[in-house]
Homo-oligomer: 333 residues x 2
């Protein structure tokens, strides 16, 4: 991804291996501070996933793979390391997928982890190319949360088609849901789009419906886990946007690599929804906003039924939810 | 409303006349600080409405009436004063209704303004009594923004039925949308419910859809303006909640006094939507949250079509949108 730091534009990933450690852009510090975290052990990696230094389902997958590589280098029992890493966040499927892959490898896991990260990036590039065909000149696109390069090692899922269309010279405008409670839209998606020179405006999550009525041409979101029937989990609030898009006939696309699909899960009912700390709602950037003594409920994800999905944008093409089963059987061969 | 200040519980209104001035709870300072603003002129009143010291359609109506009374006392041309007060906020109908009423009076406007405020409160009490019949023991109710006592001089519109049901001994749980960008739910509704001893949890606006799928029994919101066909304007985000409630078969009620109905407006298309400062989105409590250089769009209201409204809870009873025209003709006689 392009990152503008004190005047320079550099190209970098969200996380990478360097000098016997994993380096990662600290996503908690963005957009105001640009800091690189150094992660030396699988327990530090588990902590970096839990506290959202690294976030976004495909980036979490790569973090899981690199966490296993760190454990190998540090001569830790790999089953124990896998258990620690799996316990960090329950919803994203990529994490379990990546750890399973690493567990099936022999020897030093550094190269396999690098290959996993490379494969995430090349899948995202293909998602971008495939999805960009949906984007015409002057389109206005709504996105929710951050399914950009930060969330996917590089390039993005939901943002990938937008990046490719923009680089191809098409004019695109992005409505960026700020995405409470953690504001990944206002902080991370806005930061990525600004770095890339793509036109956008941040909106309160509440304003998405208003703009879906007559300004938004298309919605593109990412996903944390997609069931075999096309129901999918994504950042809390995605479900509302999908229902309102459906009400207004606005096409609603989910962009995700095949590693986010969980063919063993028949429907969205089986997806575990992570409940995070009430303080993420009651405080914003450590400033208390809610009335004293308030309790809060803070589900991190919701599940959107497949009937609201116009299509899934994957590295192997765009397909409809009702064709998902055939597609997955073909794709997994 | 009940207000707990340093141990004491006192009963007070959101605004009232005292010593040749208007006193108002400064809603910008809540919930962390409890401050009473003193407003001595109609221009100070216009400022208090614009900057949201006083907010909520019925409270803004009373503020308009008191602003006219201040102008009379200060020997200001009443047509000029009316123009200044009307220019503060374009969406709430009560403001125009109240100023029209004051303009039709002769002599000192202090008593007429008091009567207007009293009438708002007694209407809200009747809304509470009428609406409480919908609320059964152990119900979970979602509300958006603050349509409580602060917004309505006293008692509330959306919160009035909840107050009455609670005082009648029914157990009620309220999901409080935090209501970005200004967080009136987290700050004001939570404060009112805590003062009243009603059980609640604050949620990110994004989480409302998740809970509408299987936990919320009923939605009650207020309104800023209701057209003759039942389309209504309310705080941004209301439209999304209405669509998602409809998708899930959750009853959706609008609680408002007749002064919020604008029978001259055929549908919601004619409602002017106030665009407020982008800084309300880009900053939270003066802390910048969005990426540097970001633009934001900040519509303060949205319009919900009447087809999503199960019923309107008014001081004269509960009625359906498709019966609105007959009802308004009868009620206005």
């Amino acid at each position: 991804m392009r990152v503008r730091t004190s005047g320079d534009v550099v190209d970098m990933r969200a996380l990478w291996w360097e000098d016997e450690a994993v380096k990662a852009i600290d996503q908690r510090a963005l957009p105001h501070d640009f800091e690189i975290a150094t992660i030396r052990t699988h327990t530090e990696m588990a902590e970096a996933i839990s506290n959202m230094t690294i976030r976004g389902a495909p980036s979490i997958g790569a973090a899981g793979a690199y966490g296993m590589a760190l454990a190998w280098r540090n001569e830790i029992n790999l089953e124990d390391a896998a258990q620690t890493l799996r316990a960090t966040r329950p919803t994203a499927y990529d994490l379990f997928h990546a750890i399973d892959l690493m567990s099936s490898e022999d020897g030093d896991l550094r190269r396999p982890a690098d290959r996993y990260a490379d494969s995430v990036v090349s899948r995202c590039e293909r998602i971008g190319t495939n999805g960009s065909e949906l984007i015409e000149d002057d389109m206005k696109i709504l996105t929710h949360c951050n399914a950009g390069a930060l969330a996917t090692v590089d390039f993005g899922t939901a943002l990938a088609p937008i990046r490719v269309a923009h680089r191809a010279g098409r004019r695109v405008f992005v409505f960026v849901d700020e995405t409470r409670p953690r504001l990944q839209g206002a902080k991370l998606t806005a930061w990525e789009l600004a770095n890339e020179g793509i036109e956008y405006a941040v909106i309160a999550d509440n304003a998405a419906g208003h703009y879906l009525r007559d300004e938004v041409d298309m919605v593109i979101v990412g996903a944390d886990r997609i069931a075999a029937n096309g129901d999918f989990a994504n950042k809390i609030g995605t479900y509302e946007k999908a229902v309102v898009a459906g009400e207004n006939g606005v096409p609603f696309y989910v962009a995700a690599p095949l590693s986010t699909f969980d063919p063993a899960l028949p429907s969205g009912e089986g997806i575990v929804i992570e409940q995070r700390s009430p303080d993420e709602v009651l405080f914003i950037d450590e400033v208390r906003v809610a009335a004293g003594g308030s309790n809060a409920l803070n589900p991190a994800f919701d599940v959107t039924p497949s009937k609201f999905v116009t299509g899934f944008i994957t590295e192997q093409g765009i397909f409809r939810a009702d064709n998902l089963k055939n597609f997955l059987e073909d794709a997994r061969v």
